[in-house]
């Protein structure tokens, strides 16, 4: 399988690769395997789709960053990070294909000036499993583990009943997109952050799939 993964990844590094066409073909293949109840193949296809999505979004991240949409790029970087997390949790053998992307994303995130975030606190009273649709019962757990792939689909929890009970300001958020932005007198969001380091990063990042080695001093991160 490792060779197949490497071959697919190499193809995607080429300029002009049609990600959407590839994704559409893979989705059709996966649907077929799901209908045939061929869970092993359906799961493998889920992983390849995830990989193609990660590469596609990584190229998008490159363009968004170079358009100067820094907060959007920050959110995109987080999406990629989450996709990599679930891919490797289910298919650790894909690490070779996403290692460089993960490193670039992580290095980029370190260039950002964001330090404070909002952490929302929810009370979740009722949620259901996205695989079997059953309401989660702590005494009679369904066999599906949240974050694992079953028959080509990622198991998640769909919240049916919840209550917002507060919000904290934190430095280590679970959701990195929750950056604090002030509002001006007209209630418009103001982006007051200094993106000098992000701009420096984007100047040396001239092609999506290139390795960037950075060395940071503590003053760079302040």
């Amino acid at each position: 399988m490792k060779q197949e993964i490497n071959d697919s990844a190499s193809l995607m590094l080429q300029d002009g690769f049609d990600f959407d066409k590839k994704l559409s073909e893979l989705e059709m293949e996966k649907k077929h395997e799901q209908q045939m109840k061929n869970e092993v193949e359906a799961n493998k296809l889920w992983a390849v789709i995830q990989l193609v999505e990660i590469y596609k979004e990584f190229v998008n991240l490159f363009h968004i960053l170079h358009e100067g949409k820094y907060y959007d790029a920050w959110c995109k970087a987080e999406e990629i990070e989450i996709s990599i997390h679930f891919l490797l949790r289910n298919f650790p053998a894909f690490d070779v294909c996403v290692k460089d992307i993960a490193i670039t994303v992580s290095n980029l995130q370190r260039m950002y000036p964001y330090r404070l975030f909002i952490s929302a606190v929810y009370k979740i009273k009722k949620e259901k499993c996205t695989i079997c649709g059953k309401t989660v019962s702590i005494r009679n757990l369904c066999p599906h583990v949240c974050g694992k792939v079953y028959n080509g689909e990622l198991c998640q929890r769909e919240v049916e009943q919840c209550e917002l009970i507060g919000a904290d300001i934190v430095t280590n958020p679970e959701h990195k997109y929750s950056v604090l932005f002030p509002k001006d007198d007209n209630h418009k969001t103001v982006d007051h952050y200094d993106y000098t380091n992000v701009e420096r990063f984007s100047k040396v990042w001239i092609r999506p799939f290139m390795r960037i080695t950075i060395k940071l001093s503590s003053s760079d991160l302040n």
């Binding site: 606190v121 009370k123 979740i124 019962s137 949240c146 958020p173």
Partner: protein, 186 residues
């Protein structure tokens, strides 16, 4: 064990004894008997004054601990189970009641493995050989919080609160066992 590990545990007056927790959660009959016999019981956390809410990791921890052979249960009636989702990156495991100090090392081993299991999928690509540095937060920088509740020899509730690196959890076992045994022998 170095002194640093001792500082990771704070001993405080317990919130409730096991019997008081069972009353507080309105648990009676057969379920009460079953929960009383569990080696490890997951208790409500009290985060954000939601006194009956559990940690968001409860379901995942329960599955993981049972997979490791632990006799563990949750102190709630099924239809009253609710979690409090705190969206910071600290791993908050909540509150555990242990039947005896002999269960402690098993529980700490499970907590340590659970944290490692959750982190390892991101840790697998952390080494950037060219930059000669770690680019993703390594396991020893992930902070974990949990409380172990038990009773002293007079039946008073005592809480042992751990807050520190995931990596250090397995190293506090000896010290915590000693602390628990001392309070039980008093």
């Amino acid at each position: 064990m170095d002194k640093g590990n001792i500082n990771l545990i704070e001993t405080t007056k317990g919130v409730r004894t096991l019997q008081e927790w069972l009353d507080f959660q309105n648990i009676h009959g057969e379920l009460r008997d079953r929960l009383q016999s569990a080696d490890i019981l997951l208790l409500p956390t009290g985060y954000m004054n939601e006194e009956h809410g559990f940690a968001s990791s409860t379901e995942a921890f329960l599955r993981f601990a049972r997979g490791q052979g632990a006799k563990i249960d949750v102190c709630t009636n099924d239809d009253e189970f609710a979690i409090v989702e705190l969206n910071s990156n600290t791993i908050r495991l909540g509150r555990f009641h242990i039947k005896s100090s002999t269960v402690l090392s098993i529980l700490l081993g499970i907590i340590s493995n659970f944290c490692y299991d959750g982190i390892k999928s991101t840790a697998s690509y952390i080494k950037d050989d060219d930059a000669q540095e770690q680019v993703v937060v390594p396991i020893n920088e992930h902070e974990v919080e949990f409380t172990i509740s038990t009773e002293d020899s007079s039946g008073n509730a005592i809480d042992y609160n751990y807050k520190g690196p995931a990596e250090e959890v397995k190293n506090v076992s000896e010290e915590l066992t000693k602390l628990i045994n001392e309070t039980r022998d008093k």
